[in-house]
Amino acid sequence: MSDLYDLIVIGGGRSGSSAASAARQGGLRNVLVVERGQGITPQDRMNGDVWFGSTAVGLLTGNSGRPHTVVVRQAAGTARVKAPRILVATGSYEVPREALAIPGSRPSGVMTPALALDLMDMGLLPGRTAVVYGGGSRAGLVARRFLEAGGRVAAWVVPEGWEGPTPEAIGVDRVLCGSVQGVRGYPRLTQVEAGGESISCDTLIVATRVAATLAVLKGSPVQIDKTAHTVEVDEFGRTSVPGVFACGTCVRPDLEHRFSVDDGRRVGAAAASDVSVKG
């Protein structure tokens, strides 16, 4: 059967692509990577099957040793692919203002770096004056891009104890230690309450943390840690369902993706060598 693979990796980011190569090195020949984006990440060292522009929307786990099915949606329609081993490497998304429950009005102009960067890639600007919230590299990147595009960064709000370059070195008006406590203005953002001050701005870019992307597992029996909202795995990356593995930031959300490559290699190898999986 042509649509039966040895392993299907859901997600071709840092951990997914590392896992795919490790699994190939471990002896699995037919490895398919299902990736939502259109391009390949720089970390990618894959040379096998990759489906780009393909979103895995469902995982139907096979009973008693039967292969698992991944439902994939693509521009042309829906495909179903099967494998005895599935590796979930769906990564994470940047948590929005709503997940942080920042109170206040509900204006436009509040976003995560994902949207701010997409808008700038379209040749648009998310606003004129921004507050960037978060101490990580994504916050730094989005602040730099916003400035390069001609905007002003009124404040970069970072956690207490943060160490980094001076405001002058980055080109932001100021660096402020603390948290964002409120949002004002309607229909467009006009002010952000941060570190006990009120800062005039029309844009708030929230880059404080990431959370696991679990949409593909909705309705599947794969156990989710109810408190951490991550995929539950053992030391080999095995989930509660035999033959289904997970790795990367959908298991351990990390803004800086520090563990993703190593995690992918380890779990990819484990998936290839797991003798309890047949096929």
Binding site: Q74, A75, P96, E98, A101, M122, P126
Partner: protein, 471 residues
């Protein structure tokens, strides 16, 4: 001002939209005027999404009569309009003997007087039916007719059906003036754009602003007070399959936990009287109050991850009942006001009642013509290129679903309108991963620049062209 309308409805909330549909189905010339760029932009969009039976309404009021009428209408109406409607049932949970006395006494009596089927439950019946409810529950009242309805979907379905019956829906253009036209014959509405609309009858269904519309006609016979309600939304359903109600107090039905017709659960609302009709801000204290109250009913909600918080503002009239009557100052202006927190529930009954009244007053024919819709109910036949592409990952919404919505009878012009019609942007990333793609699709379909597409109200721009920033 070439055309004289028979009826113009002011206000595109659920009540105004239901009335527009009712009026249009008489086969007359009708229009709906809404100030915001989409229907369902105020009280109708931020509420608990319950089609309420009226078991606890004040017997003998117009509100209780129209709630009674509506609860008979909802199941078949929802099926006809294709609106998500779940007869989940509600349980009012008593947590101490005092509350149990209230349930067994005045609350039970009122429900019976209102003709609503209810059943007293023992403590073990409550806990068997709803294992997620607090173990300190001592008893409860089951109201099987309480149902879940999606208010966005219902409002839009009413408005779209009005369009199919030939009504014009005028969006993003509010009423700034009402005056006599031909003496004793017509009224003329002036809109913010300067457009004049002449009509034989105006229905004032402007919700929170219906007193302001009345005042434009020199009618100051009623005043409305805004009351804010804050909500928390979670995608974790925690197994909650019934509406869980507290025993009410004098000011509010209290803070409840309800499943949603479209999935997930909702906790709220607070009841905060305020001055500003537009103040829909959430506060840390308000959200804390919602959590503290609902944890007492369903302990597990304390652990639920909230993906969104919002507030709605409802209109409270001093009289405590609906105001549905012609204006005494300007008889061709017909008020439908003071709908409090029961607009979603009572909208079908209100629309039918208003239709009958307008017929009696001679603005509508004595009987419905049951005119066939002038548009096909569905224009989804066309093949959409690359339609299978998933645009919204959180909710698995495809390009085809987005494009078909943009080609529908009442296409959205902004992101929130698209969100409510498709479910895109409603998941955990709250649209941050797909808004750029959506702007491109909307731009292509609607033939406008991406940066001209707004989030909700006028002025809620999402992006600026770069030249504008540099200058």
């Amino acid at each position: 001002m070439s055309q004289i309308r028979d009826v113009v409805v002011v206000g595109g909330g659920i009540v105004g939209s239901a009335i527009a549909r009712e009026v249009a189905s008489f086969g007359v010339s009708a229009a709906l005027v809404e100030r915001e760029p989409d229907v369902c932009e105020a009280t109708s969009k931020a509420n608990s999404g319950i089609a309420h039976t009226g078991f606890d309404s004040k017997p003998g009021t117009l509100e209780s009569r129209l709630l009674a009428r509506s609860r008979e209408m909802w199941p078949s109406l929802a099926a006809e309009l294709g609106v998500p409607f779940v007869p989940a049932g509600a349980v009012m949970v008593a947590r101490n003997t005092e509350e149990l006395e209230a349930v067994r006494g005045p609350i039970l009596d009122k429900a019976r007087e209102n003709g609503v089927e209810v059943l007293l439950l023992t403590r073990s019946e409550v806990l068997d039916m709803m294992p997620y409810v607090t173990p300190i529950a001592v008893g409860g009242l089951h109201v099987s007719g309480e149902s879940l309805v999606d208010p966005f979907w219902a409002t839009r379905a009413f408005a779209e059906d009005a369009v199919r019956h030939g009504a014009e829906v005028i969006l993003g253009d509010g009423v700034t003036g009402v005056r006599e036209g031909q003496p004793g014959q017509t009224l003329v509405l002036t809109l913010a754009s300067g457009r004049q609309v002449e009509t034989r009858c105006v229905v004032n269904a402007a919700g929170l602003w219906s007193d302001d519309i009345a005042a434009l006609a020199g009618d100051t016979s009623f005043r409305l007070t805004p009351r804010k309600g804050q909500f928390l939304l979670s995608e974790d359903d925690l197994g909650i399959d019934h509406i869980v109600l507290p025993v009410p107090n004098a000011k509010s039905k209290g803070i409840l936990v309800t499943p949603l017709a479209i999935g997930g659960i909702l906790m709220g609302p607070t009841a905060e009287d305020q001055e500003d009709k537009l103040d829909r801000t959430t506060t840390a204290a308000g959200l804390q109050a919602v959590l503290e109250s609902t944890v007492k009913l369903v302990p597990a909600v304390g652990k639920a991850q909230s993906i969104r918080q919002f507030a709605g503002v409802r209109a409270v009239a001093a009289s405590g009942d609906y105001i549905i009557r012609p204006s005494e100052v300007m008889p061709r202006l017909f008020h439908v006001a003071g709908i409090r927190s029961t607009g979603v529930s009572a909208s079908p009954g209100i629309a039918a009642y208003v239709g009958e009244n307008l017929a009696k007053l001679g603005y509508l024919p004595a009987t419905k013509t049951a005119a066939a819709p002038t548009m096909a109910p569905d224009t989804t036949g066309a093949e959409i290129p690359n339609g299978g592409e998933v645009i919204c990952r959180c909710r698995s919404i495809t390009r085809a679903e987005i494009v078909r919505t943009l080609r529908g009878p009442l296409p959205p012009r902004n992101l929130d309108g698209l969100k409510r019609r498709t479910g895109a942007m409603l998941g955990e990333c709250q649209g941050n991963e797909c808004v750029a793609k959506l702007l491109r699709i909307m731009s292509d379909e609607l033939g406008v620049a991406p940066e001209s597409i707004e989030k909700h109200a006028a002025g809620s721009y999402v992006a600026l062209p770069r030249e504008e920033v540099r200058s």
